[in-house]
């Protein structure tokens, strides 16, 4: 292989490598939703007062919710 031929091949390889850097690739970061890493929390109805009775807890909260409606409270 002549020196001239070697240079032309080398030039073609270098030009190809340099051009490869000009490609358009998406630059936006893909958002991945994180997973909670902390301690596990108990449910509010698992407290000493409700002892895991979810219905009793919901009923207590419903009553409190309606206590905010004075139209109903004063009738």
């Amino acid at each position: 292989m002549s020196a001239r031929h070697f240079c032309s091949v080398l030039l073609a390889v270098v030009a190809g490598a340099v051009n490869a850097g000009c490609g358009e690739r998406p630059q936006v970061v893909e958002y991945k939703k994180g997973q909670y890493q902390g301690k596990t929390d108990a449910q509010p109805w698992d407290s000493a007062q409700f002892k895991g009775d979810k219905q009793a807890w919901e009923s207590a909260l419903r009553q409190r919710n309606q206590a905010q409606n004075e139209y109903q409270r004063t009738q």
Binding site: G38, A42, F50, W57, L61, Q68, Y71
Partner: protein
């Protein structure tokens, strides 16, 4: 039970700051941190409006999305809480939140010196054991596990601030709006509390004669 939400009726809020005081007192919130505050628009101008603002417990919370340590979680009732042991005080949540809910006990300081983020917990405490001293010290009282609603809403004298199941408080608000009327029909006292009932109005008129 649906999603837990706050709803502030701007027609009723009288800027008494009772909600902010109740919150501070209930949770012994440190100086410099205001989990709840009252914002007034056009203060001093006729027609000014005030609303009470805290963490809105967003369904798709931006604070959760940006946290680099993933210390946020959402309960089954939709309350957004966080684990203070995981918080590094970076302040990303502060910048992401449109309501300014996340606060830092050491105020504006360099990263690492601000302290752990503190915000409204919907009176649901944190991941520590319910009702424990550790939970109270870090997050304040856990009223939800006692079957109670947030102190701010329960303390509100005019019931401008409503808290609880989103469907229920929306119905309460809808009922108020229907009773008040709208546009030029509402003026003065009736703006907030609705028009007098016909029987009461008649009795008042007869009393004047």
């Amino acid at each position: 039970m649906g999603r837990m939400k706050f709803l502030c009726d701007a027609e009723r809020c009288i800027e008494c700051n009772g909600c902010a005081t109740a919150c501070k007192s209930e949770h012994e919130v440190p100086w410099g941190v205001n989990r709840r505050r009252v914002v007034t628009i056009n203060d001093g101008v006729p027609g000014e409006r005030s609303i009470s603002v805290a963490c809105m417990h967003c369904a798709d919370a931006p604070c959760m999305a940006v946290c680099p340590t993933d210390c946020f979680y959402q309960t089954e009732e939709g309350v957004v809480l966080h684990d203070k042991d995981m918080c590094i005080g970076c302040g990303y949540c502060f910048f992401a939140c449109p309501f300014g809910a996340p606060q830092f006990p050491n105020g504006p300081a360099a990263f690492g010196a601000r302290g752990k983020m503190d915000k409204c917990t919907f009176c649901a405490g944190g991941p520590e054991a319910d009702g424990s001293d550790e939970e109270f010290a870090k997050y304040g009282r856990n009223r939800l596990s006692e079957g109670k609603l947030p102190a701010c809403a329960e303390m509100c004298a005019t019931k401008a601030l409503l808290a609880g199941d989103a469907d229920v408080i929306s119905d309460i608000y809808r009922q108020r709006v229907l009773r008040r009327g709208k546009g030029t029909d509402v003026w003065g006292w009736s703006t907030a509390y609705g028009k007098p009932q016909p029987a009461v109005a008649k009795a008042n008129q007869e009393g004047k004669k």
